[in-house]
Symmetry: C2
């Protein structure tokens, strides 16, 4: 199944036959005080840096979240979407928990966006799926409902089925435009949780064949050497069927692990991307060294 996302001029396909889709997650003021203050003042200059860094790191889609307290999030989302679409042709993932913000962001967006996110809660389904349909977008769906975030992979599958049934049956959204999040939980909280995430990925692939995504950094939360954990987790999850992830593309160890998984799973013809990325990193290192030598003379 192929989930096609578009900007005004570029198309990105999420599918098991395509290179793994890296959704860059840094354009988000959560936990960043200075960025929040800038946004409240209407200063969007930090976004340009974040976009450039995610692009340089290898992001293929950019997640945009403007959740700053005391700011007009809808207005910021519109401004951010317009700014970013002027900076890059990567498709965007419009990310908010507020329906009006999603609506405003989607209205401002040129192309076919990814909406982050809907859950299996009836109220959220009723509020968000009409927007997804109206704007012809794709949507990330989390298999939790009013009652719980189920641990059991079979229960997650049931909630995913509910979302897919409602989205396709009631709202006419094609199944390929629903990207299910199998729910990545911190291994540090309970060492059995990642196994359940992996089982959920595998079940989703077998039962529905839908594309999947998750917040890759959740898995290593609270543990030391987080990048080493992420760099091992993603290849395992990709081999199990995961087709995209939301991650900070500034971590070369993690991006390289994803590229290696593409190579090993035969999604990088002749290893051309692997070798090109290696050469680019080499050229960059040489350039940095030359600059250092010049500065020293």
């Amino acid at each position: 199944m192929e989930t096609v996302l578009r900007s005004a001029s570029r198309e990105v396909v999420i599918s098991p036959q395509h290179p793994f889709c890296i959704i860059g997650e840094r354009i988000n003021p959560t936990g960043r005080k200075l960025f929040q203050e800038q946004l409240r003042r209407g200063d969007l200059s930090r976004i340009e840096i974040d976009v450039a860094q995610q692009l340089a790191g290898g992001a293929m889609v950019l997640d945009v979240n403007m959740g700053a307290p005391l700011a007009d999030e809808a207005e910021l989302m519109v401004a951010a979407v317009k700014l970013i679409q002027g900076l890059t042709d990567l498709p965007l993932c419009i990310d908010s928990s507020i329906v009006e913000v999603l609506d405003a962001g989607l209205a401002a967006y040129e192309g076919k966006a990814l909406v982050n996110s809907v859950t299996a809660e009836d109220e959220r389904l009723e509020a968000i799926l009409p927007l997804v349909k109206k704007y012809g977008a794709a949507v990330i769906a989390l298999p939790n409902d009013e009652k719980e975030i189920p641990e059991d992979p079979r229960q997650r599958l049931d909630l995913a089925r509910k979302i897919i049934d409602v989205a396709t049956g009631r709202f006419g959204i094609p199944a390929e435009d629903i990207v299910i999040d199998p729910l990545a939980m911190p291994v540090g909280a309970d060492t059995s949780l990642v196994v359940k995430t992996m089982e959920t990925i595998s079940l989703l692939r077998e039962e529905f064949g839908v594309n999947t995504t998750l917040g890759a950094s959740n898995v290593s939360f609270g543990m030391p050497d987080r990048h080493a954990i992420g760099a091992a987790f993603l290849p395992m999850a990709i081999a199990t069927g995961l087709t995209s992830a939301i991650l900070d593309a500034r971590a070369p160890q993690i991006v390289r692990a994803v590229q290696a998984a593409d190579l090993l799973l035969d999604r990088d013809p002749w290893g051309a991307s692997w070798i090109a990325a290696h050469r680019a990193a080499q050229a960059q290192a040489q350039q940095a060294q030359r600059a250092q030598e010049q500065a020293a003379t």
Copy 2:
């Protein structure tokens, strides 16, 4: 299924419920001219360094190969086995293509060794399995025969079945003492080869439940950034069912990837080993820095 290996005083278990078994591969003169010359002179001092490095890197079993041209390999193997068993209590993997060398090494070894290796060739089965039985050892088995190294995972499975049938039926070797090598091929030669290795691992697990091992460095042969490829490959292979690998434990990126896979697959209770390894690395880094500072004053 549990493959139990033993030295005189230590037991190591290979199984999907245990931490992944790292078989350190450096005690081998292949491609090392100086080491070969030393061995021809009867100088085994290099082995002490190699053993210490593999131990420090996290090896749990040590592969010992004494294949130096123009040397008496059987004599060297006996000397090496005795030397190494005086240096460490890790179980050994006796590695040679020459039956007499395996025999001599196994006779000198105290404990239950792993034999590297037998194939599905009739002549090799007849020559090596009696030794495995005689010494109560375990054995690595490669699913290739006189005709070919099959690419098709189903054909590899058929050859694995032949080896298991002959070993258990004719020689009374228990199935748990047969460790099948699914044959890791270079992704640089053909980007579809690793997928076939993974399929073979998966089939071996489903059909026989036997333990598996492979030469981890083969996969990245001929490609740049080999450690990054190995560090992505092993977590994928482990998630698919691989239970041990022969690798050079001097590569921290690869060993750390294996430890992360253990953590993520719930084989590291409370993440205790992960955290301990992190602290040890930190302490080592601090010590190195202090030594550097002292040297500078």
